[in-house]
Amino acid sequence: MSDPVAEKIAENEAKFVDISGVHKLFGSGKKRYHALAGVDLRIGKGEFVSIIGHSGCGKSTLLNLVAGLYLPTTGSVAVNGKEVTAPGLDRAVVFQSHSLLPWLSVLENVLVAVDSVYPDKPKEFRLAEAKRYVEMVHLGAHIHKKPPQLSGGMKQRVGIARAFAADPKVLLLDEPFGALDALTRGSMQDELTAIWEKNRKTVIMITHDVDEAVFLSDRIVLMSNGPAATIAKVVEVPIPRPRTREALLEDSHYLAIRKELLQYLIGTGHAAAA
């Protein structure tokens, strides 16, 4: 263990996403809003972390800070040792409202990311690459359809394909299944775990859904209520992978963690969030 290079790499991987001392203020004067107050979070490489909290607690703000869509007022956000100053392909986002470009087909929407990753590769290569990601989310039969012709679940799958096609270091999911019905949501969660098991990307996911968080995550971050929200608690999920819903129900950790999360959420206010 005396190899300094290996130690450095291990250290880097332990804080692959490094959020330290982050405050975020919006607006100025009387309209000033203190969204985040002193957030510190380190996420290891290949870790799946969920952020859970009530509406308006700054979850999305935190995610947008990692994405680079916002910049912190004070403090710093670094990914893979590099300070985040702008959005980039190494931090792909799956947006809450799918945000597909409605005038582009499924393939073209995914191609948007592929073209940015490989601007110098031949067209055939980029097309094949985009197709591969469309097939990864099982939309091969709908490759030439436009988003308005797709169901909500299908649209979100295109969003996931686009994010993976960017070949990011960190995948940021902003309530990816929030707008879907319970059945579709379940199958989308299964699909996401299956994809994640294959490539183990670092994932930060925002969710309202306690079961979703427990099923998918290695760690769950609980946020306090805004304004001036911060991290209230971090819960480890030591359930072995690969996980299945059936096994989950019999896991002793599962019920305990679920109870802990629900108690926190109910205790901090609105029972509706459960």
């Binding site: 869509l69 986002v93 947006f95 409605p102 005038w103 948007v112 940015s116 308005p148």
Partner: protein, 321 residues
């Protein structure tokens, strides 16, 4: 696209093709995206119920035919009565306005032979309209190119919008004829002045609509462009233009109507060939019936231009679908 989702009954295919608005036609652009999708969903969910009862289909079809007949017959009745009142009015003593019958008989040569050509001072209405259309095409094309360009520049910069919007709001209300003296003083020649008047009349709705369209590009799409690194021409063609297209084409459609409105005013002083000059010339030689026929033609051409633009707007403006 919407038409494709309709059940393909042969007779209905025909009625849809002849230019009548289907009831599910998408609304005018508001926030691009959502409204369109909703109307489309409505079209899709409405399909099974419309197809369901086979015995009811006949009464529905009959109702459709009756409705269609009404849309044809009612205007004919209205036109008949308008002409009747016009005839009665102009047959009174002391009225110089020719009635419809007199107009048709006196100007029959103009109506029946739009393409005659007896030298530069005696041409058919077709030639006059064609010449006017050429002027409009030139002025309008210039307005479209410059207008869309300026609209994009102004829409992209909140500062520029604040600076220029009040100026545009004033300039756009200036009637075409008011520009003519300025235009003549600037160009010293009749034809460029006429083209300029059309240009300056048509450009404002294009600039204003384009800049609003650019400003209203949804934040979602901007975020997608930032995260997935759509820059330069890729941003322009994949995000900006399709997103603003419904607004741009609405502006272009308003502008074509205004350009045609301006042509008569612009040509009054230009001379030569052109429908505006022809009307002015007819007035000077007291050929009232010729004026009435020309005015009717001006209206018809304006309608056709508007319809063509509406079609194009529907085609390209709905890229967002």
């Amino acid at each position: 696209m919407i038409m494709d989702t309709q059940p393909k009954i042969p007779s209905q295919g025909k009625t849809l093709a002849n230019g009548h608005k289907s009831p599910t036609e998408r609304p005018k652009p508001m926030g691009p995206g959502l409204g369109k999708m909703e109307s489309k969903m409505a079209a899709q969910t409405a399909r099974p119920t419309a197809k369901l009862p086979p015995p009811g289909e006949d009464t529905e079809r009959a109702e459709r035919i009756r409705e269609r007949a009404r849309t044809f017959i009612m205007p004919v009745i209205a036109i008949f009565f308008l002409c009747l009142f016009w005839e009665i009015y102009s047959s009174r003593a002391g009225v110089t306005l020719p009635g419809p019958i007199k107009t048709v008989t006196e100007s029959w040569k103009l109506i029946a032979h739009p393409w005659f050509d007896n030298g530069p001072n005696d041409k058919g209405l077709g030639w006059h309209l064609l010449s006017s259309l050429q002027r409009v095409a030139l002025g309008y094309s210039l307005a479209a190119v410059v207008g869309v360009f300026l609209g994009i520049v102004i829409g992209k910069s909140a500062m520029a919008f604040k600076a220029f919007d009040p100026i545009f709001q004033v300039l756009r209300t200036i009637p075409p004829l008011a520009w003519l003296p300025i235009s003549l003083a600037t160009f010293n020649q009749a034809n460029p002045s006429a083209v300029f008047v059309i240009f300056i009349t048509a450009i404002w709705p294009i600039i204003i609509n384009t800049s609003v369209g650019i400003m209203r590009i949804p934040a979602d799409y901007e975020n997608v462009a930032r995260v997935y690194q759509l820059k330069g021409s890729r941003y322009f063609f994949k995000v900006m233009l399709p997103s603003a297209a419904p607004y741009i084409f609405t502006g272009l459609r308003i502008a074509i109507g205004m350009a045609w409105l301006a042509i008569v005013a612009a040509e009054m002083l230009t001379g030569g060939v052109g429908i505006g000059f022809f009307i002015w010339d007819s007035w000077n030689s007291s050929r009232m019936s010729d004026i009435i026929v020309s005015v009717f033609y001006v209206g018809m051409v304006g309608l056709v231009l508007d319809r063509i633009m509406a079609r194009i707007a529907l085609l390209f403006g709905s890229i967002g679908d």
